[in-house]
Amino acid sequence: VSSLIAVVVVAGSGLPMAYAVTRRPALALLLGPLATGLLASVAMFLMLLIGGNLLFWGAALVVSQGVLIWKLRGRAGSPLPQGSWVTVVAFTAPLLLPFMIARFQPIEWDAHSIWWLHAAYFSHDAGYARAALGAPAFWFSHPDYPPFTSAPIAAVWELLGDYDFRVAQVVSALTTFSAIGLLVYAVRRVTAAAPAPVSWFVAVGVGYVTWDPAPYSVTNGLNDALWAAAFGAAATLLLFDRRPLVDQALPVVLMAVAVLSKNEGFVMAVVLAAIVTVRERRDLVRTVLVWIPVAVGAVWIALARFFGAQSDLAGGARFDALVHGDVGTRLQTIVDAMWVEIGVVAAFAAAAAVVGGTFLRQRRRDFGLPSDGWLWAVNASYFAVLILTYMITPYGLDWHLVTSVERVTILNLLLAGVSAAGWAAVAIGPRGAGADLPGASAFDRRDTVRTVGRRPAVRTLLADVGFGAVHRGRAAGVVAGPLARPDRVQGS
């Protein structure tokens, strides 16, 4: 019964926000748990800053999001593509098969020692939480780790008045499922020009990759899969979508989830935001939004520092290991361990990308898919971040690798998988032999015109997150966008 209540609370609290972001009931339901997690995290910030307890701020935020969205309902928003009930259920249902492993008992070491311990000290009040962040007794649990995983658990525990391990696992599994579902959605959307079964197949395949290196870690209270899937979805929507900066709300929300889940999420959000900014440098105003999650992450870092939370890496990093000692041996050990996890998959995906990039480039353009080079750049950056992290680890290298490498490499696999999914869709081709606008199917029901001209920056940004007043239709001052231009057609 407690677990059932937890499911309803976590799925339901963020629904208004999730609906505002997606404008699709089915997608809102999928995004709901992540929206709840974000609300709980912000509630935690407010509790630490101002005082009170998590439940008070959580309730205040849930009510105010509802009011805010009710006020904004008159604004023209556009429903996200590929968000019908049939489409969403079709790509979500297969994820339930590996998800069944959530039946394992809630006894994972890191779940207890990190995320549920944090949830425990966040669940009382501001005073206890502030003291706990700086208390030496808790340092083993990395109090500087961000709060997304723990905050909704703390809120539900507080609500139920019982610290049930199974409830914690259910909340954690639900948010993770939501993130994986949205990754699958992102792939389904960018490959939507392919025949639906092909797009569905590759999208679900990428979702399944989440379970690959460490099946036990996905739904049993850890958050490595959660942040990797959320970040992978954001990267896919921002770098692999035909119109990356229209409707940024969803990728920005997903980036915020990643940033507030893991410290690596913050580092990678900076990388992703920088890459998006460089790529879209001609339209700099629109890139402001992707820096919001970075700012949110910075707020957490500042709060954690202020209350004395210790970071194992920043505190005990051995930068001397980069210049002294057996640098080559350490590097070899790290690369070997990572190769075991990702080598074969990354090699096949990279081979597909090289062959595709060499021979199918025109076909990819006709399909309406941007270059996957940016995704590989993000992937390589993350690889480099991991190597650096292991190089300067304050722990024994072998122990650190054995206990984490299979979980931290999930993102490498997912990004390689997204690239591969794109190439498979391109190779098989757009649906219908005579589809005269390849890729257009991805944006059916959407505006095929894009607003330009001298709109104030704020309104441009509002439009980008889905609150645009002039966003759809044949309003004055709009010109034909990319989709109105007849694209080159394969075979013509």
């Binding site: 039946r103 020692s113 311990l117 000290y121 597909a352 062959v355 498979a424």
Partner: protein, 133 residues
Amino acid sequence: VARPTPTVRRVGSLAVRVLVVALVLLAGYHGTTGSFVAADAGWTLVRASNPDPWGQFRRSQMEYIRAEFYRQVPVTTTIYVADKDSLWAQRLVEFAAMGRYRLVPEHDADVLLYVDKAPEFKYEVRLRVVDQR
């Protein structure tokens, strides 16, 4: 150099497309084994009458120690987790946070906490509270 005929180009393009799909399928084959392991293990768990007995045992241990902790130690007591076994040391800290206890340095603590292990104890564990007031 003779230019390839349209037929040759079409066959070549088809070969490249088949190659790309094959490479992606190979990547997918290797990249999704974990999900099938998870689905298989999950299905077994869902069907079993007593799923994950070892996990159930460990969970019972934890819940038993937690209940003993709250029964024996009033919430106003300052505590220090003195156990050296990291599994139980970390569990005791976790339970202390859940119960809103104050964790203090060893010499300031009212009580020291340990978990003893022996086959004859209930769930093979026992909470030991050493009063040093």
